[in-house]
Amino acid sequence: MLRAFRSELTKLRSFRVLAGGAAMIAATAALSYFALNEATSNPSSALARALPTQQGLIILLSSHAQTLLIAIAIIVVAANVAAEWSQGTLRNLLVREPGRLRLLAGKMLALLLFVTISAALALLIGAGVALAAAQSHGISTTLWTSSDGMSAFFSFFGNVLLGLVGVSLLGMLIAVLTRSTGAAIGISLAYALVGEGLVDAVWPDGGQWFPVHLFGYLPGVTSPMSYGAPPMGYSSDLIVALVWMAGFIVVSGVLFRFRDVSA
């Protein structure tokens, strides 16, 4: 598995992938800056009212950036995994590493590392930009950087990353199911950004238990913006989210292990 992990890292160290990671960081920083501007230009908004609280910084980051990070994470993983079929490179990999589960596990570990490091940097740099921008707008950041404020920030930070791991595992499952880059990206985005929203609209009680909602709720324990706080409570949210993640791993593993590779 270590070999598969290192092999995948070799691919991820390419200019295009690193440029994509840098773009994600820049976009997150830009979104937190725009969120701050939005709040200051409309002082009666919920966002503006939340700014002077301990959760001000988190709310700036979660108002737009969380959805962006979810979309990017699911695209990166789904596209990367499905491309092995679309490009035909999977057969090269399986000849060198016939242990299919080891290959998938090593590959996913590298991808999860890439997604979480990129997201962590995006959140930290976005937070830095938000702090600097807030100070330049004359907004007090004392509560944001207080002990309670930082504790809330790191709780949010950890939960966003955990949610992104879940979304990435969903991306893996969609890639293994579709075995096509275009289909994997399309279905992933449609499901994450629209699909569950539709389920939620027609079946709100059930929709909240669907995976992207559950992953999105996780940071909501510290931030009411974006997906909001988990209606079922954090513990239930966490447990069911972990069950979904385990399910994605098991189903992907079984399909990847036993399906013919004819691409």
Binding site: R3, A4, R6, S7, T10, K11, S14, F15, R16, Q87, G88, T89, R91, N92, L93, L94, V95, R96, E97, P98, G99, L103, F258, D260, V261, S262
Partner: protein, 319 residues
């Protein structure tokens, strides 16, 4: 004819084959995709240490067989071993196998060297091996270029470099000459011979029968998922060919034509001569019958069939 040069390879292969050192062996191997039988009860044996040509028309089941041997797809029934290990445990033999399957596949946004590095990391091969294989396939000076900018021939060379990475005992090559220019084909042929001299087994699927004829000592021929020939390449072409009969008098030609047709052979008149498609050792019998019939002024010349002609004759069921 070039196959004569491969006789020693064939006899070595035959002795290895009988000495139970088969590189590949299948028994009733089948793969069905729904109702379609891509491979149907295939039983073949490929000797170690030889170059084996794996030939057949499009859709004969060559690539499906190769994929089963490499553990990429599961057989519907039957069994097979590669390097003495059952194909249900590819981990036991794939580290000793190098493969180029169909058109080579790469990460286009990575350089040739990086593409090799991805596989070298995965297979646990050293970085120095990457430089070695780039040198072997003549891509040392283009290794840093993005694969997306490679020509078809360069991609084929890089695919071969990938197959050579593990310094394999068995090299499985699916259409390796695709996209190569004439010089590249000659280099590929020399490389295959040099690898064989190192004791490696090469299993090569190709439509280029003329090329295979020059290197392959053993042949496996597939048609509609079944093996129609499996043995020394010499055996396939041995005795197969045509007799060219010339005579000063047209009546004698007509007489010979009647004798050949009566014996069940195809006769083609050509510029006052006759081409008789038959085993070339029938020349003696033809000569005797022609003399008995009064055609004494004829000349018979034998022309041995090429691999391609033998292949086509075999496919037509002309054994």
């Amino acid at each position: 004819m070039t196959l004569h040069a491969e006789t020693s390879q064939t006899s070595q292969a035959s002795s290895r084959s009988s000495g139970n050192s088969l590189a590949i062996e299948t028994h009733g191997l089948s793969k069905h995709f729904g109702q379609r039988k891509a491979v149907d009860g295939l039983t073949i044996s490929v000797p170690g240490g030889a170059i084996t040509g794996f030939v057949g028309p499009n859709g004969a089941g060559k690539t499906t067989t190769i994929r089963m041997l490499l553990g990429l797809i599961r057989p519907s029934s039957g069994s097979a071993t590669v390097l003495g290990q059952t194909i249900s445990h590819p981990r036991a033999y794939l580290p000793r196998v190098g493969a180029l399957i169909e058109s080579p596949a790469f990460y286009p946004s990575l350089s040739g060297r990086k593409n090799l590095e991805v596989l070298a990391q995965l297979g646990g091969h050293s970085r120095s091996r990457i430089s070695q294989v780039l040198e072997i396939v003549g891509l040392s000076d283009r290794g840093s270029d993005l694969v997306g900018k490679y020509s078809l021939g360069m991609k084929q060379r890089l695919g071969l470099a990938m197959a050579l990475l593990p310094d394999p005992d068995l090299l499985v090559l699916d259409e390796p000459a695709n996209g190569l220019d004439p010089l590249g084909i000659i280099e590929m042929r020399d490389l295959l011979r040099s690898l064989r001299e190192q004791g490696k087994t090469i299993f090569i699927s190709s439509h280029w029968l003329g090329e295979l004829e020059q290197v392959a000592g053993w042949l496996v021929m597939l048609n509609q998922g079944k093996a129609v020939f499996n043995g020394p390449a010499r055996d396939l072409v041995d005795g197969r060919g045509e007799l060219i009969v010339t005579a000063e008098e047209a009546t004698q030609i007509e007489l010979v034509a009647r004798i050949a047709i009566a014996a069940g052979y195809v006769v083609t008149p050509e510029n006052g001569s006759l081409r008789i498609t038959c085993p070339i050792d029938w020349a003696e019998e033809l000569n005797r019958r022609a003399r008995e019939a009064g055609a004494t002024g004829i000349a018979i010349r034998a022309r041995e069939a090429s691999l391609e002609e033998s292949f086509l004759a075999m496919l037509k069921g002309d054994h």
